[in-house]
């Protein structure tokens, strides 16, 4: 009980305190509000001030980051859009808090189901961002978004997202998840090729 422990501890705080200034001087003002500064903050050598001044500064989100699902549509050359969703209902069935609601389209003449959702809702108040819908979708039609700034003034009027609000183009998906996108497209191309080959061999 000679106070040495306390002094050593205070030494640590003092070193840390001085360290923040040293760190600032080393970076010559480029420590904050720059990409390099943020990367330094996330690296193994991170030192100095650890906090980020949100919303001026933002930590980059990694590719796998997941927040609220969206529906992917493809844009054709002629300007028309094509929804990948076939309303098979797997996402609605696997959703743990059951926040996905789908109305399947039926052909008015035959009464048989058409592979396209008539309506698609996600109650984002209830969504728990688990990512199962995206994980188990066999058509790569529903994916998790990166946009986490969703606050609204009135949840009763805003927070049930309909099909229009949920739909985002494939190019957007490719931009937020490039690695996943490329991998999935390769698999799709392979499946297409296999299908074409099978068709060709059946005809030939």
């Amino acid at each position: 009980m000679d106070g040495l422990g306390i002094l050593k501890g205070l030494g640590v705080t003092l070193r840390r305190f001085v360290g923040t200034y040293v760190d600032d001087i080393k970076w010559l003002g480029r420590r904050y509000f720059t990409e390099d500064g943020i990367r330094h903050r996330m690296s193994k050598d991170a030192s100095g001030v650890f906090t980020v001044q949100y919303p001026e500064e933002k930590l980059p989100v990694p590719e796998e980051f997941r927040f609220i699902p969206f529906l992917v549509y493809e844009e054709k050359e002629d300007g028309s859009i094509f929804h990948r969703c076939t309303s098979c209902g797997i996402c609605a069935k696997v959703c743990p808090p059951q926040c996905i609601w789908i109305v399947r389209t039926t052909d008015p003449k035959t009464g048989r189901p058409v592979p396209e959702p008539a309506e698609f809702y996600i109650d984002v108040d209830i969504c728990m961002n688990c990512g199962y819908c995206a994980e188990y979708c066999p058509f790569d039609a529903i994916k998790m978004d990166h946009d986490y700034e969703l606050s609204v003034y009135d949840r009763h009027t805003h927070n049930i997202y309909n099909k229009e609000k949920l739909s985002k183009p494939l190019s957007y998906y490719a931009s937020i998840r490039p690695t996943n996108y490329q991998r999935e497209e390769a698999i799709r191309a392979e499946a297409e090729a296999a299908k074409a080959a099978k068709k060709a061999s059946a005809e030939g």
Binding site: M1, D2, G3, L4, G5, I6, K8, G9, V12, T13, R16, M42, K44, D45, A46, F50, V61, P62, E63, E64, F65, R66, S87, G89, I90, A92, K93, V94, C95, P96, Q98, I100, W101, I102, V103, R104, P113, E119, Y121, D123, M128, N129, C130, G131, Y132, E135, Y136, M144, I160, T179
Partner: protein, 580 residues
């Protein structure tokens, strides 16, 4: 401890004919014991067979067969597999002898089973509700009990697809109109319990106090539920004589959401993200335990790479959790937030890894039955390696220098809140709490799961059982976790990360399984019963925070009231798990 011959491999059914028989239902293990012989059998199991540690007490409502079953999992603190005993009672008169006289650690777990399932434990010293409030109608985990926003018995709900015209459940089924009152209930005549029975149970102790010869009055003080030292909404009711604690009762359930009922409505897979929300500081470990339990039922094994990834994630979780625990303990001691923020800088970097791998910093939802959700993205392996080999060891040394020999910390912590080894075992304490009391019991060694038997690490143990040792043991465990991490990251093999194809509907054969892991806070167990349907029939969580709190009164008695804050902080509770 006393040397005595321990009987191994006794067939209880032969030892107690007519009273005990083997549980021969398909997929079940252990013995069925008659209620009237239960105490005798439990005494034999404890004293002769050496099963000194009662891990889990819970119940199952076998509604179609019309009986309730009380399920007990016993272990030896010397290691080895479980002994499972079950007592069956009729649903309308469910009475089972209480195990509290033999295993004091059963106290809160039996109260929980009484509260949620309505099994009355005869001989329990204080059988009140624990998670629900006094006056609550019914026992919510019974299969015929329905929640106010009841929709269907099991998910997925039919209203969602293919005719999913969206609505909010509270619009169709407004609050107040959706509650079932008992037939004889009159709201005007009803008076709330106002904790009369709680205070009465404390007052019993009052009359026996007179060690100074002076006649002093005792005071009852409520610490919490809104108190910054309780780590959330938790309440300690203390009986004080001067400043000394004479008795203490924890009150909990403010955050109760009946996780287990939700789990029984869910399908097996849907429960995985819900487990994240139990102990939200260590979601990877929660995933681990649940995945183990269901994999046991399904009889599948994850591939090598997935096993390594699981261990890496679980150990990173342990480090981040212990850093948080140390930081908040220092907060409780009055070192306001500087140590906390120093500690959680490293946690921040660990969470960056989780976010890159699992997609979320805290609600990871990373484990799947038979593997993990996805492989490491590019660059993460290097990040993990740098952390485990370079940064974390350095930073832990700094934290050590900063705190460990600080005279104020030592003065506040040494000799405070002592829990002896015997008490720790008797109260079913687990994790750092148990090991700081001198019991080297770590499930990773004692009953190894996953691939923990391949790694070289020491089971951290300290012998004083006070708050200071519980701080030290967390530092020790961080260092051991770093050792495991270094080996696992070095040996991480290539290969698939899931056995079989990912399925959104898993087929789980009928049976029961108890999967337990050494979570950062202690033994985390999942008791899962399947009847072959898509939803689990029973889903029980043996939460370490909840069971560890049983020993709180013993630790706090005789200490000053200010120390109760440090003692609670040293247990390291998380209310999401405590209240479930």
């Amino acid at each position: 401890m006393m040397e005595q011959a321990i009987l191994t491999d006794v067939d209880l059914a032969e030892k107690f004919p007519q009273k005990v028989k083997r549980d021969e239902r398909k997929g079940y293990e252990g013995y069925l014991v008659d209620a009237d012989a239960f105490l005798q059998v439990a005494q034999f199991v404890r004293d002769e067979m050496g099963y000194d540690y009662l891990s889990s007490v819970t119940g199952v409502d076998y509604f179609p067969e019309n009986y309730l079953e009380s399920v007990y999992h016993f272990y030896r603190t010397t290691g080895g597999p479980a002994l499972v005993l079950k007592v069956q009672t009729p649903r309308d008169n469910a009475v089972v002898p209480s195990l509290v006289p033999l295993y004091p650690g059963a106290e809160f777990q039996e109260r929980e089973a009484w509260d949620l399932l309505g099994i009355r434990y005869e001989g329990h010293p204080d059988l009140r509700r624990i998670l629900m409030w006094e006056g609550f109608a019914g026992h919510p985990l019974r299969k015929d009990w329905r929640e106010p926003y009841y929709e269907e018995d099991g998910k997925p709900f039919k209203s969602r697809w293919p005719d999913g015209h969206v609505y909010r459940i509270e619009d169709k089924n407004p609050f107040h109109k959706n509650v079932d009152y008992p037939a004889d209930f009159d709201p005007d005549q009803w008076a709330p319990d106002n904790d009369a029975s709680l205070y009465a149970s404390l007052k019993k102790i009052q009359s026996s106090l007179s060690d100074s010869g002076l006649k002093t009055d005792t005071v009852i003080v409520n610490m919490g539920p809104q108190h910054p030292s309780t780590h959330g909404v938790f309440r300690m009711v203390v009986l004080l004589e001067g400043e000394t604690i004479r008795a203490l009762k924890p009150v909990m359930g403010y955050l109760h959401r009946n996780h287990e009922k939700i789990g029984e409505r869910n399908t097996f897979l849907m429960n995985m993200p819900f487990t994240d929300r139990l102990d939200y500081l260590s979601s990877m470990s929660n995933n681990f335990g649940y995945a183990l339990a269901v994999e046991k039922l399904m009889g599948i094994q994850p591939p090598e790479r997935a096993e390594y990834l699981r261990v890496i994630m679980a150990e990173f979780t342990r480090i981040s959790n212990h850093l948080f625990a140390i930081g908040s303990l220092l907060n409780d001691l009055g070192a306001y937030f500087t140590p906390m923020l120093y500690a959680i800088e490293e946690r921040e970097l660990i969470l960056d890894i989780f976010e890159a791998v699992a997609g979320s910093r805290m609600m990871c939802n990373y484990f799947r039955f038979g593997g993990v959700a996805r492989d490491l993205p590019e660059g993460v392996y290097e990040k993990m390696r740098d952390l485990a080999y370079e940064r974390l060891p350095r930073r832990i040394d700094e934290l050590d220098l900063y705190l460990t020999n600080n005279e104020i910390i030592r003065a506040r912590c040494e000799g405070v809140g002592v829990l002896t080894a015997e008490d720790a075992i008797a109260f079913s304490a687990s994790g750092p709490l148990l090991r700081a009391s001198g019991v080297p019991y770590d499930i990773r060694r004692a009953d190894p799961y996953s691939i923990y038997d391949r790694f070289e690490f020491d089971v951290a143990v300290r012998y004083h059982g006070d708050v200071y040792d519980r701080y030290l043991i967390r530092m020790d465990e961080i260092r051991q976790s770093i050792r495991i991490l270094q080996q696992a990251i070095r040996d991480l093999p290539e290969g698939p990360i899931q056995s079989g194809k990912p399925q959104y509907q898993v087929r789980v054969p009928a049976g029961e399984a108890y999967g337990r892991v050494e979570a950062p806070k202690g033994e985390l167990g999942y008791y899962v019963v399947s009847n072959g349907k898509p939803n689990p029939w029973r889903y029980h969580v043996r939460a370490p925070s909840f069971v560890n709190i049983t020993a709180l009164e013993t630790m706090a008695k005789g200490n000053k009231v200010a120390d109760s804050v440090a003692i609670l902080g040293s247990i390291d509770i998380v209310l999401g798990e405590l209240d479930r």
